[in-house]
């Protein structure tokens, strides 16, 4: 069976007055049904823009200049506005970072939830309400009947994010894209959400792309990982492979920067310098200036190569 989502050679560029910003530059990834893909990177690495591109949510002056996005074999990059509307919130759903911004503060939860059902299905209001109730119960919200009649401000941050997840799940989407949905939440609440999400993916068979800067969250949640740097996926593979045997110096640097149980009080190894401006990327590997293993051939950015089954790498001098 072919993959649920297959992105090949995606490039999303922003044509600004000061130059072309290559926010997403030659990104390829695949998501299987019922699997979780972690997309990791620091701010400005293009991880969120990759998610928005898959959802067709790239605003001017940006556009997808190249590449293909296949969902269940359908090419998404050529869809018109009407087709996108049928797809979004139905076959593909998105969970955003800040649930306060995604829920309408002046509408009750039931209005917002049934709207999502009625927009895509010719069912009665009663059926839509039933589905809303079931979706709330599924994400672990106590007494869903009562909560349906509440307004967003009556929920805590964690509960609001559950509501947002319930809305994303309500039409049983094939693919969910989650953009840092637990970053604003407390540790114990994050734990609850992660456990729900993990369970829901297994049960419903939906594919999930989990975008995060937090390697620790990804390591516990994802099946596969893509590490992004300056608009490109520098390394991808199964979560165990990437975290235990990182081959790209950037991945290694990221892992070493996280304080762990072995390092109390000792200086952390750090990646020198900072993320380059996406405006000024030359022909060289974007990580070259910060890389401890940079050599002569790094002057030309390497292409992604498949070094083993389901494992890609963009580096000419990888860690063995």
């Amino acid at each position: 069976m072919s993959a649920l989502l297959e992105v090949t050679g995606l490039r999303t560029h922003f044509f600004t007055k000061v130059g072309v910003v290559k926010a997403v530059d030659d990104v390829s990834l695949r998501v299987e049904r019922g699997r979780i893909l972690g997309l990791v990177g620091e701010s400005g690495s293009g991880k969120s823009m990759t998610g928005y591109s898959i959802l067709g949510l790239v605003d001017e002056p940006g556009r997808i200049v190249e590449g293909s996005i296949l969902l269940n074999g359908t090419e998404l990059t050529r869809l018109d506005a009407a087709a996108w509307r049928r797809l979004r919130g139905n076959r593909i759903a998105m969970i955003f970072q800040d649930p306060m911004m995604t829920l309408n503060p002046v509408l009750r939860i039931d209005t917002q939830m049934t709207e999502a059902v009625l927009a895509h299905h010719a069912v009665s209001k009663h059926t839509a309400l039933e589905r809303a109730r079931a979706a709330l119960a599924r994400v672990g919200i106590p007494s869903p009947d009562e909560r349906l009649r509440a307004y967003p401000h009556q929920f805590s941050g964690g509960m609001r994010q559950r509501v947002a997840i319930a809305i994303a799940l309500i039409n049983n989407p094939d693919l969910i894209i989650a953009d840092e949905p637990t970053t604003a939440l407390d540790v114990t609440i994050q734990g609850q959400i992660l456990s729900e999400v993990q369970k829901l993916c297994r049960e419903t068979g939906a594919g999930l792309i989990w975008i995060s800067h937090d390697l620790a969250v990804i390591s516990g949640l994802a099946d596969e990982v893509c590490v992004m740097y300056a608009g490109r996926i520098v390394e991808s593979g199964s979560v165990v492979e990437i975290l235990e045997h990182p081959m790209h110096p950037y991945t290694r640097g990221l892992l070493d920067s996280v304080p762990s149980r072995n390092t109390p009080g000792r200086p952390l190894s750090q990646i020198p310098g900072m993320t380059p401006s996406l405006l000024k990327l030359g022909a060289a590997c974007a990580f070259r200036e910060r890389c401890p293993r940079a050599i002569e051939p790094c002057g030309v950015a390497p292409a992604a190569r498949e070094i083993a089954a389901h494992r890609t790498l963009r580096c000419v001098n990888p860690i063995a």
Binding site: T188, A216, S257
Partner: protein
């Protein structure tokens, strides 16, 4: 704790309440019989804390637990509703005299958001140089040399001092915030989520800076964070707060090896770690209660898997469970076990 000398900084029985009085409409409605009353947030409830010279104390807890309020009280940005603050064993009010100004500068704060805590219209030389000149630590004519020194100390290029904050990245702004705090020669730094807004690779740089400065300047830290990994990395001792109360305090290695309070145990279990793969999350139930109406007895009892009758009625006191390790839980009492 076997502190020989008086601790550098001590809090005794600190409580802080924030009150919101009813507005005019509310008072009118109450007169007509509506059941309304002034709202009181119990941010801190009789907190004791002693920090010794050159010690790094990590303060962890979830949002709304009062850790930032505590930090602000230590830095004297807020006054407590009740309780005493002591500096080197003397109550703070003794330092109000003009000649004691130096002592009052000894505690400085580093804020969470490196974007919001620098005035966007001031050049870095003014941001860092203003306070030491005002307080007479350096002459105005020596200001630039002094700022250059401070910037070098935090690992920044001193030639950038004429720039404005927006010309710097998040990591550089953090360094500027640290340089500003160091400029008045403090002995004690309160770091309130000082690395939370930074990317992982930049966070490592700033954490290393904190560790280096501690050695170089013999500083004492109160390091507030929700990130247990970061706190473990920098702290000698960790204090865990839940809903306005200290629930556990222990030397770092001891706390992470033998957490005693059920809340600490749960918190440790929830923290995602890079070395724990593909795990099943077993979350603790429920939400953090509102500090507007904290539950009676132990504040954690509605979520605690091991709560029993007494937890609902009586707030547990901090008791020593191992040398230097205190925990507030009824389960530690032999009678109730």
């Amino acid at each position: 704790m076997s502190a020989v000398a008086a601790p550098l900084l001590e809090l005794r029985g600190i409580s802080k309440r924030f009150e919101r009085k009813l507005d005019l409409a509310g008072r009118f409605a109450r007169r007509l019989g509506a059941r309304l009353s002034d709202e009181t947030v119990h941010a801190l409830d009789r907190v004791d804390l002693a920090i010794r010279e050159r010690e790094v104390v990590g303060l962890v807890g979830e949002s709304g637990c009062g850790k930032s309020t505590l930090g602000r009280i230590v830095a004297r940005l807020l006054a407590p509703s009740e309780g005493d603050r002591l500096w080197k064993g003397r109550p703070y009010r003794e330092f109000e005299a003009e000649r004691e100004r130096r002592e009052r500068l000894a505690v400085q704060m580093i804020f969470q958001d490196p974007y919001a805590s620098l005035n966007p219209r001031m050049r870095i030389v003014d941001v860092v140089g203003e306070a030491p000149v005002v307080h007479g630590l350096v002459a105005r004519s020596e200001r630039e040399d002094y700022v250059a020194q401070m910037l070098q100390r935090v690992g920044m290029d001193a030639t950038l001092m004429r720039r404005f904050p927006h010309q710097f990245s998040g990591g550089q702004r953090s360094r500027i915030g640290i340089a500003r705090a160091l400029a008045v020669k403090p002995r004690f730094l309160v770091c309130d989520e000082a690395v939370a807004a930074l990317d992982v690779s930049i966070q490592a740089q700033v954490l290393n800076l904190f560790i280096r400065l501690r050695e170089e300047l013999a500083l004492t830290y109160l390091f507030i964070s929700h990130d247990l990994g970061v706190v473990r990395h920098v702290s000698d001792r960790v204090v865990v707060m839940y809903l306005g109360r200290v629930v556990e305090s222990a030397p770092t290695a001891e706390l992470y090896a033998h957490p005693n309070h059920p809340y600490t145990v749960a918190l440790m279990a929830e923290v995602p770690r890079v070395d724990a793969r593909r795990r099943q999350y077993v979350p603790i139930r429920g939400e953090i209660p509102s500090p507007l109406a904290p539950p009676p007895g132990c504040h954690f009892h509605p979520r605690c898997p091991r709560a029993f009758g007494r937890c609902r009625e009586e707030a547990p006191r901090l008791k020593e469970v191992a040398p230097g390790h205190v925990s507030a839980c009824h389960l530690n009492d032999p009678v109730s076990a």
